[in-house]
């Protein structure tokens, strides 16, 4: 048996890697990829807890499905934003997008 903790730690690590990606990557798309990683980590967590705490119910998996839906929606909108950003500012480097500075 794999202890639940292992899965949680894994999810935590994945989550943190995703966090690093969000915080440290220059390219906006890379940031989005980090966000996907974080969502995946969340999903892993959810499924792990479903499996180990209440495998008889469907809530865990349903929740994970909803996360998928949200992730998909969010990926779509985010990438649309990046496209729009590319069109107006001609850059996808988030560092350069500082109109609200000050």
């Amino acid at each position: 048996m794999v202890p639940l903790e292992w899965y949680l730690v894994l999810a935590a690590a994945l989550f943190c890697i995703g966090t690093y990606g969000v915080l440290a990557r220059r390219n906006a798309v890379a940031v989005l990829m980090g966000v996907e990683l974080m969502l995946n980590a969340v999903n892993i967590n959810l499924v792990a807890f479903w499996r180990y705490l209440e495998p008889g119910g469907a809530t865990g998996q349903a929740f994970a499905l909803f996360v998928y839906a949200v992730a998909a929606a969010e990926a779509a909108v985010g990438l649309a934003l990046i496209i729009a950003l590319w069109r107006t500012r001609d850059t996808v480097v988030l560092e350069d997008v500082d109109l609200l500075q000050g």
């Binding site: 969000v22 915080l23 440290a24 560092e95 997008v97 500082d98 500075q101 000050g102």
Partner: protein, 774 residues
């Protein structure tokens, strides 16, 4: 009937109205002016004649008094104004308007009415004449000494105005007095007399508490005055002498006689009016009026050689001026001295108690002196005309003009320029001669004889010294009169002017002839009864004498100065009459011998003068001609002294500019002025010191305070600027710096924000778990 005498107050009224009318209404119209004036005096004349006849016919009811007006009657009847007609006033009222009227009419011709040479101030002359008549008449009719004095003063003013009538006249000879100066002299000298008069009035009023005649001449009052001691003598004496002072001034007695000869500068009608008939006789009238007081004086006071004081003055004046008259060349001058002399006669008469004689001579003298003056005026007029004719007709035309313009001024009054006028001016000559003979006292047919004789008769009985002096004076009078007549009328004309002198116009000659009649006939009302053995009553004596008879008898112990009248009437003495006549005729004869037998030629020195020089008395003659230097004495003593004192005070007070050597005027300040200036300078110095003090010290203080204020405010300002502003700015900059500091937080970068959020999250979780695990 006698109540008609109430109308007496109207007598002075009409001339007064004429006096007002002329300057207010008529003065532009000469004819109207003189008509108004002559009309006024004519009405006065008519009224006066009515009054005269009523008074004469009601002789026994005199003195008549009525009250016309109450003055100042605030419960206390101090002054009542009323008429007072007694015999003395009656005879005056007869004479004055008559003579005035004659003179007024004469003036029409004299002032050249209707000709080209008419006097430019013609109307004014008549106006003054009318005022003068008012004065004289008012003086006579009213009942108290106060009004007497008021009208007396009016006459004094008029004499000033009239003597100085030709005030612009100037003479090339600086020693000859001008009309302006003569007027002033007359006024001032008579004013000295008036001063005494006023003192007498004051004294009288203080004693008697009234100035009305009825109160003063009340026997009890007189008694009281005679016995009240005052300054070592009686009150009566003091009052009498003080009042007499007025007479000395007005009637030109010694020593106040000096004004009368110079008063000849006035026009001749003025001389006639003022100096013959009226004003000078006002002085005598004053003595007549106050005769009752004079009766009660102590006769030993100021008497000399037994001659009482008043008589002393009069007698001395009489002889003194007749001596001077001998040396006068001016035709009016002779008459002036003669007037003084005759007034002396009157005063002497009154002084020795010959009341009636003095009054009689007053009246007759008025007539013949007026006549003489008017005639002389006619002569002068003629000679003046003759002078102009001589020029106009061109005889010696060019040379004479040059000579005359060089300052050889032709004096028409100078008898030496006359001569032979008997043929040229017969009517004038007749009148003049009549007057002259009256003056000399030609027996029987002239009025002067009778009146003068009366005086001499009284003097003979009362005081021999007075008699002889007056007799000698009478002789001199006759002498100089004869001289005058001869020089003027006899012989050949001594100048061109005399040669061409025309007779005067009727307005001048007719009054002359009328007066001449009086000069001759008037004496006959006063013929002493003794002479005719009582056939012709001495009306005058009875009439006038009754005045003092009514007053004088009651008191027994009054020293009888005047009481002898009644006696003299009955004891007629030929001696004085003969002696007097002798002197008079002798004088006339002598005069004719010296001057008329071989009339003087042109350029010849006066024969008396020549004679006196021969005997070494040339200096005496010169003294006589120069009025015995009394005028000069007075000038030195009083006039120059006054001017000197005035100059001294002026110098002291104000300072005069003095001429430096180079002719510039330098201001010099007198002491008072200097003192005042000193005060001014000191004040100014003080002001400057104060000003310095003020500007330096006070201003310094003020500025100091101001600066302190400024500094403090600057300090505060700095404080305000630095500190307060610093704080304010500090706050601002804190905010700004804070903002600036915090601004980088908002980088606008999403990843930044996320990072910060993450860090915070991690922090919170850690903190949370740290707290939980506790």
């Amino acid at each position: 009937m006698v109540n008609l005498l109430n109308l007496a107050w109207l007598i002075p009224l009409f001339p007064f109205l004429a006096f007002l009318a002329v300057p207010l209404f008529t003065h532009r119209d000469r004819k109207l002016s003189h008509s108004v004036v002559i009309g006024g005096i004519a009405v006065a004349f008519v009224l006066s004649q009515i009054v005269f006849w009523v008074a004469v016919t009601h002789h026994s009811e005199l003195p008549f008094e009525s009250t016309v007006v109450h003055w100042l009657s605030a419960g206390v009847e101090r002054f009542t104004l009323g008429v007072y007609i007694d015999p003395a006033a009656t005879i005056m009222i007869f004479m004055v308007p008559l003579v005035c009227m004659m003179i007024f009419i004469y003036s029409v011709g004299y002032m050249n009415f209707g000709t080209d040479e008419v006097d430019p101030r013609y109307s004014r002359f008549f106006c003054y004449l009318s005022l003068f008549a008012t004065g004289m008449l008012g003086m006579i009719v009213f009942n108290n000494l106060l009004t007497f004095f008021i009208f007396w003063e009016i006459m004094g003013t008029c004499s000033y105005l009239l003597i100085g009538f030709w005030y612009e006249k100037k003479y090339p000879d600086p020693d000859k007095i001008t009309p302006k100066g003569a007027g002033l002299k007359a006024f001032i000298v008579t004013k000295i007399g008036d001063l005494f008069f006023m003192l007498g009035l004051a004294l009288l009023y203080a004693e008697v508490d009234s100035l009305a005649y009825k109160d003063i001449f009340n026997p009890d009052t007189l008694e009281h005055l005679a016995h009240t001691p005052f300054l070592g003598t009686t009150m009566a004496t003091a009052v009498a002498f003080l009042l007499f002072g007025g007479t000395v001034g007005k009637s030109a007695q010694f020593p106040l006689h000096v004004w009368l000869p110079d008063a000849m500068e006035g026009p001749t009608p003025v001389s006639a009016l003022i100096h013959a008939a009226t004003m000078v006789s006002a002085g005598v009238f004053l003595v007549v009026r106050m005769f009752p007081i004079l009766q009660h004086i102590d006769p030993s006071v100021l008497a000399l050689g037994g001659i009482p004081f008043v008589a002393l003055i009069g007698t001395f004046t009489a002889i003194f001026s007749s001596i001077m008259a001998v040396a006068q060349d001016d035709i009016k001058g002779v008459l002036a001295y003669s007037t003084i002399s005759q007034l002396g006669y009157m005063v002497a008469a009154l002084g020795i108690g010959a009341y009636v004689a003095g009054a009689f001579h007053l009246i007759t003298h008025a007539f013949f002196k007026a006549l003489l003056f008017l005639s002389s005026g006619s002569v002068i007029h003629g000679v003046e005309h003759g002078h102009h004719h001589a020029h106009a007709h061109g005889d010696h035309h060019d040379e004479h003009e040059e000579e005359h313009e060089e300052g050889e001024w032709f004096n028409p009054n100078d008898m030496m320029n006359m001569g032979g006028l008997l043929k040229r001016m017969p009517r004038t000559a007749t009148a003049f001669i009549a007057g002259g003979l009256a003056l000399s006292g030609l027996p029987v047919i002239t009025a002067g004889f009778w009146s003068k004789d009366e005086i001499l008769a009284q003097a003979w009985t009362m005081n021999k010294a007075v008699f002889w002096t007056l007799a000698v004076a009478a002789g001199l009078t006759a002498f100089y009169t004869a001289r005058q007549l001869c020089l003027t009328f006899l012989g050949e004309p001594r100048t061109e002017a005399a040669k061409h002198a025309p007779e005067s116009v009727p307005s001048m000659t007719v009054p002359l002839l009328i007066l001449a009649v009086f000069a001759i006939c008037l004496g006959w009302v006063g013929i002493p009864e003794g002479l005719t053995g009582g056939v012709i009553p001495n009306w005058f004596h009875h009439f006038v004498g009754s005045t003092i008879e009514a007053h004088g008898h009651e008191a027994e112990h009054v020293i009888r100065v005047a009481g002898h009248l009644s006696e003299a009437v009955h004891e007629f003495d030929w001696t004085p009459m003969l002696i007097g006549t002798a002197f008079g005729l002798g004088g006339l004869l002598l005069g004719w011998l010296v001057y008329g037998w071989k009339p003087m030629k042109a350029g010849e020195m006066d024969r008396v003068e020549a004679g006196m020089r021969k005997v070494g008395l040339g200096w005496l003659h010169k003294a006589m001609r120069n009025r015995f230097y009394f005028d000069d004495l007075y000038d030195l003593l009083f006039v120059r002294t006054s001017i000197g004192i005035a100059n001294l005070f002026d110098l002291f007070d104000y300072g005069q500019p003095i001429k430096q050597d180079d002719g510039t005027l330098v201001e010099r300040h007198g002491v008072i002025d200097g003192l005042i200036n000193l005060f001014g300078r000191v004040g100014r110095g003080l002001a400057q010191i104060s000003d310095w003090f003020d500007s330096k010290i006070v201003d310094g203080l003020v500025n100091l305070i101001g600066n302190a204020g400024k500094l403090s405010s600057q300090g505060l300002d700095v404080f305000d600027l630095k500190v307060v502003d610093g704080v304010v700015n500090g706050v601002g900059s804190v905010v700004r710096e804070g903002g600036n500091a915090l601004r980088p937080i908002q980088s606008g970068r999403v990843q930044n924000y996320l990072l910060m959020a993450s860090m915070t999250l991690v922090g919170l979780i850690v903190a949370f778990f740290l707290i939980i695990s506790r």
